[in-house]
Subunit: 169 residues, 2 copies
């Protein structure tokens, strides 16, 4: 009987290790794709200098928002989920404004694929605070206060929060 | 004496032919650079779909404006000059919003060079109507009515007027 429990615990530990290993791979891929040179080229150099995108306030999740949400008792797992959803939305928006033959189209498509993979392994349980933010995010585009932001600034911010949320891994 | 006059007329004719030949070369270079595929790639595919530039009404010189100005007695030579100045300005504006490493930067720089060459051989004498338009064009950017236009639409229009003004050559 004891041997059975031991085996079960071993399988559980192995499963957990495999999940962590896969997530490490995904976050590493994300880190490589979001390195400064790539952000500068694909989101800076390949866009007109004065080009800005209109986004909702909730669509810009900064490090200070993360700290504030942690102080409100939100777990890192939930924040990772929120950050993944927010940035997946942002990437979809950027992709929508790019013609298929724009030199940044492939880059954004690949980033989007990595975010989709990351979200597969992220918990979906949410506290009320996160649910409220998600609800505001899902409202039609023309409702609520909005601001205009450069595409590069959106991904600069995305990279900073990646570090804040996944540094240990 | 008669032989001297004949020689002078011959030199004059040769000089005129050389000027026409050079202009033909420049307009042909312009025509090649402005072909549909290039306009589509450099001004369409390489810009965000929703990107527009704010320009003055005078900065969009359409075929119908050309017809209307001809009806007011403006010569083709003057219209060529006006068209050259208007499109040189437009290209400068497009170049200003492009980062040096944007994939359309080189294309716009080359087009601008051809326009500068074209303007060297174009008369600068202007009637009052043209002078008025030029004065409105030179006003600071934030004065007068303006409209937002896609960069490709600006060069599509430039190409159409090139045909209207230089078809014979």
């Amino acid at each position: 009987m004891q041997r059975g429990i031991l085996l079960f615990l071993c399988i559980l530990a192995l499963g957990r290790t495999a999940v962590i290993y896969k997530r490490c791979q995904v976050t590493r891929a994300l880190n490589d794709k979001l390195l400064y040179d790539k952000r500068l080229t694909y989101l800076g150099d390949y866009f007109p200098k004065d080009y800005k995108m209109i986004v909702r306030y909730e669509e810009v999740l900064r490090c200070q928002n993360i700290t504030s949400l942690i102080n409100q008792g939100i777990t890192v797992e939930e924040l990772r989920y929120l950050w993944g959803i927010v940035n997946e939305d942002i990437l979809i928006k950027i992709k929508e404004v790019l013609p298929d033959r724009h030199p940044s189209f492939g880059y954004i498509t690949e980033l989007l694929k990595i975010f989709k993979e990351l979200l597969l392994d992220t918990i979906t349980h949410q506290t009320e605070i996160i649910q409220d933010i998600m609800e505001r995010l899902r409202k039609p585009d023309d409702t609520g206060p909005r601001k205009s932001v450069r595409p590069k600034a959106l991904l600069d911010n995305c990279f900073r929060v990646l570090y804040a949320l996944y540094e240990e891994e």
